[in-house]
Every structure is written in structure tokens, then in C-alpha cells.
Symmetry: C2
Subunit: 409 residues, 2 copies
């Protein structure tokens, strides 16, 4: 018999299964109302438009869409992305764009190209667990920055930047898991700090176009260009975008927008990883999104998700015990709730499932794990239909009430 | 300005651009007849069947195909693959199968999970350059095994295995770049050696079903099961398969078939890399391949590619100077030619392009680079239509003739 454990690389011991993806398997029973996944509403997928786009692409570009293609991606799609990213005046070009298999692959490739063993990595706490999962095998040294309603604390960040960390990773808009947004003032301050300390930031922005209240805030790459007095993407920001939340996750199309000086190495990492992303799905996305369809579709998503967010917040007000507190996001798919510290939300997950409702325990979003965030949990408000949101929050409230009255504080 | 070179990880210095992919860009001018790419014949893509499959999948499973899915892959496709791999009696199950974004991603994930800095890696010389590109950043110590018409030299392999290398990587059928096949006897001998020395092998088999002459030979995982007297995939072989060469590369669907004991870590690596492969393209492939279509389609590919192989070999006989020698593959997409050692085929590539014909210089397929294989070149016979094969080989023969008469031997 082969002892596979002994054959594994050291980095493999740092790999973990995604707790969310394991939880999702538990919550697929139809009687369970799940707020666990980061799933868009499937009834809003533009299935018919995708179907005609697929037929048109195969009719008109079949052999090209089915053959090997360029590692950088399909030209028409890269141009579409570059143009969208240039809307507020920064001149993003096709050459800045590398198409990848969802933003998760973008995270993976960036880590591969930039992270040495022991490099300093600055993250919000809590942060996106998929990034932790991708980068932990590179064994970075994590610095966590606490956050409030306006995003990360710049005073703490300044102290950390003196230690010369390799990079920052941020989800500035409607962050996963908290749903909070980095304020305009702090974006400006952050960019100044990066220039002062020769820092760089990964701006992961899957939810930016899903805003339901408050004013739009420019992206970090736009603040960076403004600070430098240039209109190029040529500074301290590598940007990650995706069609997963605004079109459909199943196409697995995301992108990296990066300064030209690092693009060559990212393309090499992409070639080694999988040669290139499917030209078929790239062509389909470009065909679906064109002629203003994507913008119209996003308007519709905003309307639906806004009402689901509002309904979830109102239901929480109505059904949650007084000791539970939560964020009130202006957009995105998630909010995060805090129970009293003695509650272990990972432990309580089983009881929630008995109550036929599911959430994601917060622990894995914290660099410090359960000790830091064991009493928190993330709720998704985009996936469940309105009646389910109300009923699911009622069930969750009843469960929490039960547990809080039973246990001594 | 950011000094991105200084920001890069050490492993990034070990990354290289694929010379093939760079060459492909040069050879897209219509006047050039290219034998450079590893491209299937685009006129044989089953475009209409893929189109109806896409429509059916979106009609019947639209929301599922467009939503996030399981990291392991779509059940229907995993079952299809497992059943095909079980045809000769080894009972491969769904749980042995991880769907990946082309076999290249399979290579990447396996390296990530198994290779430590400095680990011994045994390869044929020459070997698949995409593997070298993916694994060089892990800084393995390469052992090369020379090959003859029957594949790698087992006496040399035995001496190498005493050094306890981490793994072997092989393309046993119609190897890229040489087109040679590991004989049945040596497969048996190889498996015995692996058991004697506690070795493992990655069996990369993109071309196995594209045999045009000679008898089918069982796969290494089948010899391994027979040696162990089991009918399970539970031994010393991790297998890589792909639909790229038998259906279409643009769907980017491949798979890893592995013993269950290492599957968990491979799935974790897949989650970190890109969560999962597109369920849309997975569903489409499963729908296209079903009801015996894939087997019928492969028969058609075999007929066409066999005649192209024969035509290329006959044209080489007719047009190539006497000092050029080449392999005569029983299948696959490639053959490899050897010029006299003083010819630098990388240097001559520019002259070939002036003659409006292209090949891939062999140097990058050799671990030792130009010093070992500078005088070799790879030719693809699947992509160009018959008239082009004849004319392209004529041009290449004329160029070689010219160069050989000009230069002193």
C-alpha cells in the first residue's frame, strides 16, 4: 500500500477543505432553508439569453470557441471588460486584462506569483476565507486589521506597513463576510499609505456593482490613478473582477486587471495552471453581456436583492433576540451577525439544521479562527425567495432564543 | 513606481513562457502552414451536436449548470468517465474522479499536492513541456530516462529509483513530443519496479484513444491493479485524462483519476485553485458524449488522423534530406524529427517562417534544453488539411536541404 500522507508536500498540510463547501452539502435537503451559500438567485439567471448566445457563438465562431486559445483570454471579452473598467476615466486597456476561471483563480495566480514563504500579508479580520484557503499553503505571515462601519482602521494599518508586508488583500465593497464598505475617505488614506510605504493591494471586487443604498464610491485603482495624476492602470493596485455575481457563477469567468509590468508573470502562471480559460464560455459571456444587456440585468438584480436585504433585516428585527447584533450592508450578498461571546456558532450549526435552517459559522473567516470569531455567523440574503427568508429567519431566531434562555450568560 | 520584479516570489523566477504558445502567435498568418500547435482538426469538431447539447442542458438543467457546483465535478460526467475507465475490468468509481480544467490543471494540482522543493522527479527525455512549465516553480530535481522505440529504458530507471525520487511522470501512449509508446512488456516491468521501490507514477494519457496502427495496450493503472490482484484504482498510479483531443480543447474539461487516499487533498487543491470547473461545460460534454456518440466520433477522428499521419510520413520520405530522421508513431498527434547535431532548429525557425512553414523546435521538451535537443523538432499532423501537409513538408524539406548544403558538416 502507498502511504499517501508521507508522499504529500509540506504545503499540503497547510491545505484545508472549505467549511462552506462542506456545509453546502449538508444543506441541500429541500426542507432546510439555507442562508449559508454565497449563491446568486438562480431564478434570475438569464437562461434564455445564454441559450441564444451559445447558439450564436457556435454558429458564428464555433471552431474558434472550441479550439485552444490565447492564455490572456478572448479579445472581444477582454475589450468589453477593459471598456467597463474605464468608465470613470482610468484608461484600462486590453493588455491590462487576463481572463481567469473565476476570481478565485485570480487569487490563486496572484499568490503564486507574489507570495514567498513567510511574506507579510495584511487582511481585514474577518476576511474572505477562499483567499485564506488559497494562500495558506504559501505560508504567509498574516497581519489582521480590525474594521468598523467604514472599513479597516488606517492607524493600525500604518503601524503594520512599517513592517514592510508583501501585500494587502481587501474586498472594499460589501465585503464577504461582513457586508461592510471601505469609505471614500479611507480609500484615499489607504492609497496615500501605500505610496508612503511602497505597498501594494489586491482589490477583490465581486460585489461592487450590487449596491442598493448609499452613493457609489470609486475603486481603489481609480483613487490610485488620481493620486499619481495619471489615467493608466499602472500603480499599486491589482484588481479582481468576476461575472459570477452579476451574470452566473457556472460560467466560471473572472479577470485580473493589473499593471503591465506584472502581467507577463501572471500570464505565465496562468499557462502553467490550465493553459487558458474556456474560449466557449468566454465567447458566451461576451455575447450575453453586449449591447447594454449586462447593465440592464444588474438593475434587475439590484431591485430584487435590495428587497431581499430589506426583508432579511426587518425579519431579524422582528425575530432575533436582543443580544444578537448585525451589520447593515449597502449592497452585496451578505451580512454578519454577532451572538454573545459565549455562544459557539460552529457548535450550534447542528441545532440550526435540526431547526431546518442554515448559516455559515464565522470562525473560518477569522485568521484567529474560533477564538476570534466563534460567536459570529454569516447570512446570505440573495439566494432564498422572500417567503423563505422570513420563515428561515423566524426559525433561526427561535433557535437562538431557545439557546440563549437555556444557557447561563 | 512599483518595482514588480522585486515584489515577485522566488518561484516566479522559475516560471517561463511556453515557447509553443509564443510560436503559435507568430504562425497565425494565413500564408504560413503550421505544424507547430498541438491542435486537433477544427473541421472535425462536432459543432452541431455541441450546439444542441448546450440548448438541451440549458433547457433542462439551466439553473444547475449556471450555479456554483461541487468541487469534484458534475455527477453525470464523473459517472461517464468512471464507466469508460472501467471498461477493461478495473472498477473505477465516481469517487476516484476529480473533474479539472483540462489535463494541464490536473498536472498543476498534482504537483501542488506532492512536490516539495528538491524532490526527485523522473521524466522521459524529451518530455511534455507543459509539465515542466507547471512543476519547475516547485524546484524539483529532475532525473531523465532515455527512450527508444519501446519507451523508457528500465535499466536506467531502476538505478534512478534507488535514489528514492518522489514520482515519475509519463505519457505512455504516443508521447508528446516523440509519438512513441511504452510497450506492454515495459509497462509490466515499470509497475514491478514501482512496487519494489515504493514509487508512484503520473500516467498522462491525452492521446490513448487515438491509435491508428498496432494493438491497444492496457493503461498503467490496469497493469498496476493486475499486479496487485485487485480490481480497484488503489495503487501506485494517478491517471490524467482529457476531452481536449477526442472532443474539443475549448471546453477545457479533463480529469484526475486517483486512489481515494489522495483524493481529499486533490479536491482541497482544486477548491483553492478555482472552486470548481464550469458546470455548464461539464454538462455539455456529458450530453455530447452520451449514447455512444464519443466512440463513434473517435472512430471518425482515427480515420482522418491516420491518413494525415500516413501522408506526412510519405511526404517526409519524398521531400526531406537524407540526414533527417524521425519517429513513426502508431497514434496521437505528433512525430519528432532529428536533424544533424550541428543544426540549431530554434535558430532555423525564423528561416522556416520565411519559407512559410512552422514547427516547434525540440529544445524546450528536453530537461537539458538546447544542448540536449537543439537539433530536434516536433511536427503535428492532425491540424493541417492533406494538401497543406504535402505542401508544408515540401517547403520544410526545401529549407532543410538549403541549410544542409550551405553549412559545413
Amino acid at each position: 500500500m502507498v502511504n499517501w500522507n508521507k508522499k504529500c508536500a509540506k504545503r499540503t498540510n497547510l491545505m484545508t477543505r472549505s467549511s462552506i463547501r462542506e456545509i453546502l452539502k449538508l444543506t441541500q435537503r429541500p426542507e432546510i432553508i439555507s442562508f449559508a451559500g454565497g449563491l446568486p438567485a438562480p431564478e434570475l439567471f438569464p437562461v434564455e439569453r445564454i441559450k441564444s448566445a451559445a447558439a450564436k457563438v457556435l454558429d458564428e465562431h464555433g471552431t474558434e470557441a472550441l479550439q485552444y486559445g490565447a492564455s490572456e483570454g478572448v479579445t472581444m471579452l477582454r475589450d468589453f471588460i477593459a471598456e467597463r473598467m474605464s468608465r470613470r476615466g482610468v484608461n484600462v486597456t486590453r493588455d491590462n486584462i487576463l481572463v481567469v476561471g473565476g476570481a478565485q483563480q485570480g487569487i490563486d495566480l496572484i499568490g503564486r506569483v507574489l507570495l514567498n514563504d513567510g511574506d507579510g500579508l495584511v487582511v481585514e479580520d474577518p476576511t474572505y476565507m477562499g483567499m485564506l484557503q488559497a494562500w495558506r499553503p504559501y505560508n504567509p505571515c498574516c497581519y489582521t486589521v480590525p474594521t468598523d462601519h467604514d472599513g479597516l482602521d488606517l492607524d493600525v494599518l500604518r503601524r503594520i506597513l512599517r513592517e514592510k508586508p508583501k501585500l494587502l488583500y481587501l474586498v472594499p465593497n460589501f465585503q464577504n463576510p461582513q457586508g461592510i464598505t471601505l469609505s471614500a475617505e479611507r480609500r484615499r488614506g489607504l492609497i496615500e499609505l501605500l505610496h508612503e510605504f511602497d505597498g501594494i493591494v489586491i482589490e477583490d471586487n465581486p460585489y461592487g456593482e450590487l449596491r442598493y443604498s448609499g452613493d457609489d464610491i470609486p475603486n481603489l485603482y481609480e483613487y490610485d490613478a488620481a493620486y499619481q495624476g495619471t489615467n493608466m492602470l499602472d500603480g499599486r493596485v491589482i484588481y479582481l473582477g468576476t461575472f459570477s455575481k452579476v451574470l452566473a457563477p457556472g460560467v466560471r469567468i473572472g479577470w485580473i486587471a493589473a499593471p503591465l509590468d506584472i502581467m507577463d508573470k501572471l500570464v505565465q502562471a496562468k499557462q502553467a495552471a490550465d493553459l487558458h480559460t474556456s474560449p466557449l464560455t468566454q465567447w458566451i459571456v461576451a455575447e450575453v453581456a453586449r449591447d447594454g444587456f449586462l447593465d440592464e440585468h444588474i438593475k434587475r438584480l439590484r431591485e430584487v436583492y435590495e428587497s431581499r436585504r430589506d426583508l432579511m433585516l426587518a425579519s431579524m428585527e422582528a425575530y432575533f433576540p436582543r443580544d444578537i447584533h448585525w451589520t447593515k450592508p449597502d449592497g452585496g450578498l451578505f451580512l454578519m451577525a454577532h451572538a454573545p461571546e459565549h455562544l459557539d456558532m460552529t457548535e450550534l450549526f447542528k441545532i440550526a439544521v435540526e431547526h431546518q435552517v442554515a448559516y455559515v459559522p464565522g470562525a473560518d473567516f477569522y485568521v484567529g479562527g474560533a477564538a476570534a470569531g466563534g460567536h459570529t455567523f454569516r447570512l446570505n440574503f440573495s439566494n432564498a425567495r422572500p417567503a423563505m427568508i422570513q420563515e428561515g429567519i423566524r426559525r433561526l431566531g427561535a433557535m437562538l432564543e431557545e439557546v440563549l434562555t437555556r444557557q447561563p450568560v
